[in-house]
Symmetry: C2
């Protein structure tokens, strides 16, 4: 048997952060491209952009910034706040999942 | 902002315990009646019974026992193991949710 947990963060009843949303931000950080991040998530560019705007609007902060032009035809990267949100959420998820597993093992280690 | 978490327990890829399943067991414990427990969960008697059998089969233990006849027309109650499963899962859920909240507050208490 193993414990499973799905985590997310709500604000006024709306989902503002989740593993899925943070993964999209992480792909932007890794690729420097919203188009490539969207592709990796199986999303259209338009939908990925809408998701980012939605998270920014819910949190009230800018998470990504874009640079137009240049040899590569522009790029998108995380703002300092965006990087901090990804780091904090990742720490939250890791710490929470570890404790969930610990509690489960402690409680269910004996035969039920 | 507030953290949210959905927890469950899997065995060989199948869900064996969850808040929903444990709630069904709790209603049986409280009412002494599978019919009444099913009604409270908005399930048909047949479906509630099938769910109980499924959990028992996945865990490999008997969780409920029925007594036929008598003035009330029979009753269903939890076995000692069933009571233990409900108690352990409730402790697991409570402890895990408390730690999830604690990690969230520690990490996200400052302005992001």
């Amino acid at each position: 048997m193993e414990p499973k947990a799905k985590l997310w963060v709500e604000k006024d009843g709306a989902i503002v952060l989740s593993g899925y949303r943070v993964r999209l931000l992480q792909h932007i950080a890794e690729t420097g491209s919203l188009a490539e991040a969207a592709r990796r998530m199986g999303l259209s560019y338009r939908r990925a952009w809408g998701k980012i705007r939605e998270i920014e609007s819910n949190l009230g902060v800018r998470l990504v910034e874009s640079e137009v032009g240049g040899a590569g035809g522009g790029s998108t990267r995380l703002t300092a706040v965006g990087e901090r949100v990804v780091a904090l959420y990742t720490q939250f998820e890791t710490a929470a999942q570890a404790d969930i597993r610990r509690h489960f093992v402690e409680l269910f280690s004996e035969e039920v």
